[in-house]
Symmetry: C2
Subunit: 491 residues, 2 copies
Amino acid sequence: MKPSIPKGSRDFSPQEMVKRNYIFDTIRKVYQSYGYQPIETPAMENSETLMGKYGDEGDRLIFKILNSGDFLLPFQNPLDKAFLDWKIQGQGIDKVGIYREMAPLISEKALRYDLTVPFARYVVQHRNDITFPFKRYQIQPVWRADRPQKGRYREFYQCDADVIGSDSLLNEVELIQIIDEVFTTLGVPFIIKLNNRKILQGVAEFIGAPDRMIDIATAIDKVEKINVSGVYKELQDKGFTEEQIEKLDDFLLLKKPAQNPKSMDSYELAIADLKWLRDRITDDSLEFSQPESIDKGANQLEYIFKSIRALNLDLSQKIEFDVSLARGLNYYTGTIIEVKVDVSKCKSEFTSSICGGGRYDNLTGIFGLPDVSGVGVSFGADRIYDVLEELNLFPNDIVASTKVLLINFGEKESQFCLKVLKDLHKAGISAELYPDAKKINKQFEYADKRNIPYVVSIGEKEMESGRVALKNLLTKEQIEIPLSDLITHIK
Amino acid sequence: MKPSIPKGSRDFSPQEMVKRNYIFDTIRKVYQSYGYQPIETPAMENSETLMGKYGDEGDRLIFKILNSGDFLLPFQNPLDKAFLDWKIQGQGIDKVGIYREMAPLISEKALRYDLTVPFARYVVQHRNDITFPFKRYQIQPVWRADRPQKGRYREFYQCDADVIGSDSLLNEVELIQIIDEVFTTLGVPFIIKLNNRKILQGVAEFIGAPDRMIDIATAIDKVEKINVSGVYKELQDKGFTEEQIEKLDDFLLLKKPAQNPKSMDSYELAIADLKWLRDRITDDSLEFSQPESIDKGANQLEYIFKSIRALNLDLSQKIEFDVSLARGLNYYTGTIIEVKVDVSKCKSEFTSSICGGGRYDNLTGIFGLPDVSGVGVSFGADRIYDVLEELNLFPNDIVASTKVLLINFGEKESQFCLKVLKDLHKAGISAELYPDAKKINKQFEYADKRNIPYVVSIGEKEMESGRVALKNLLTKEQIEIPLSDLITHIK
């Protein structure tokens, strides 16, 4: 049997762990400095907590846990059994149908798909113990039965920060500062894209397709690549009418390169675009029946852009308004945020988002706590890892290891070394004794491969003389010193 | 809908997280100082990696993941479908039988049950990239479908350290030092119990029941509570013959209080017991056909006891030989270790083990890498948490929080405060601005509940004068200082 792990999952070696912890520690430190507090939730949630929160596609990607014990128990009831027989034996029944009927009977728990929904569930469940506004961060793995591919895994870590119980836009401003601080610390060139679901919703309502917000955004997003005619074609293919497509025409302008004059920085451009957007909805010729949603979304974005600009962060070219930004999750209702690598500033072809988030006004409502607004961001640690690796941005000095190896010369010597080791540990020096009395060059080889800088040899002669041989593997220098000086020499 | 989580699982609040991290950090620091390196493995393993490694009971407790997509696909094949129909419709078929047949067809992955088996799989899979002996630590959750009860959860963290690729008993000595250092740092009074599977195996072979090692150990374990006659009865009930029970007689003596003279410390007692054990197997009247196993186990234990004693750790009364210690897991072959709270030294009734481990000679062999011995220990972080809570051993100063809250007086003031906040963060001070311009006493209440020591008020007046009000919530003192002195005052 050749050992393996499920596709889309990974092992992390000590070398990888050190790098991953560097990312987690960086994010955690920034979160803490802004007053976010850690929580953790269980890997498994009740299925009803998760289902229906991520859209149809999301629901399909949730990993389900088989009920423990006798999971066929529901089918021992004659009626249920007959039902199952009928389902399986019936001709022409679609398999997905059977699947959907049977799954809840044999599986009641599932692995979390993200950290936001479990957080909303947490807030409602523990609302009496929580001081609002509640600023929490959470760094834990999530699982998705996605088709594995480069940079996409079935188990991956999310690093989330959310504020719940405050609808102030200062929270959005703070989250953008956090994004800036994290990626500036890590050295990643980045672009923050902002949009507001209220704008998308307003546009969708304007063209008479209020439930097709995501389709519209996806099509608009492609205007730079496939031109206006291509977008038209795509919308037609998706069943939009000529009249609906015509009404969209104006909004496509927001994504056209002509709208990006070089003389404006991205702030000025965003403010200009938002003004243009508001001009449209007050234009009587467009017959905008309900302009409120777009207006509100545009105002919120303007506030955020102006506040960030006033802060004078070092990100003047890194933040932009993108009307085509949609994000897939069902629950967003206001600001949406996405961060990508700024490929114009580095040799990277990394186009996936490395951080994303947004505001959700009704998420806790599903669990019984209405009228509580939340907003949050999520850093994708795995993608950030790939970016840092690709751009060679990991610091050289983060590879921690043992500092001292004691050579094992045999029974008597190793017993002596145990005591030396004890003193080294007491002095706060990480040290180990090679456990077997193997050939000396094999033990030195071990130190070398493990990047252990100091090797101490204490043989019978040294035990008697009280002097030990200390070799520095970096300089190749070897000296003989009194055992009592060992700690001073190494520290 | 009232939100809840699956039984046996838990949420961790910020207060709990801080305490848990204190435990993890303590263990991690000790592991690192002894040269152990971190790895992580995925939550899901292929089912065949896990099944059959933990005994029948263990196998039943493994959480299985329903195949994603159409999990009923195997039953679309007419033959398989007929088989399933027959199984379900058949009268008198035991349900566990159906379960066992169907489970592997609809579930190919499972959640890890411990960290040792995934580690063995890891070592074999990555053997070409590993420097042996490989000392690794791993701190991750595991899942078991156990009946939930006080102190026993379905998701819990294990903190493991293992050395693989060395059969030196110095590794056992080191792991005992690690146990000593962790619990001494945490302040928990503890007893380390040691045994060796070779002794148990030798006894089981001696009485002609080589596969009933665990049953024998469990019975011997009860001799103090239910006396020799009770143990006899239990063995009879379990189907042991009179002759087998009679042969066990001698070994029961090892657990009898008479063997514990007060004049000996636990080391001397262990050495004496081990000598007694070796005397038995060389006693011709007992007709011991294969004494080698017991002899080897006893020698190994004696070496460990003597080495630890020579180290002069501060645990002279805390380590003992316990011939009835068995541990449930299938894979142990040599030393076995278990740590319990020393209830004689504190007001605790905590009888579960808080750390355990042992040596396994064949675990990697199952995955295709024979003749590699490993030994390791696992700290039960959740039980340790309960013990520290019960004995009030958590330090008072570990509750980290935000240091400064800026009061939000409204639009203009909050924009001003964003800049103050930026400077505080730059100076390394964790600080937050209350996001909403709510009533001032509500904002102070928030600071109080969150244990934030400093509150800074910058209203319109203060913005003009450049002086700010700084209140220390611990001393209730409020002073007015120039804004430029704020950082110096707080640091």
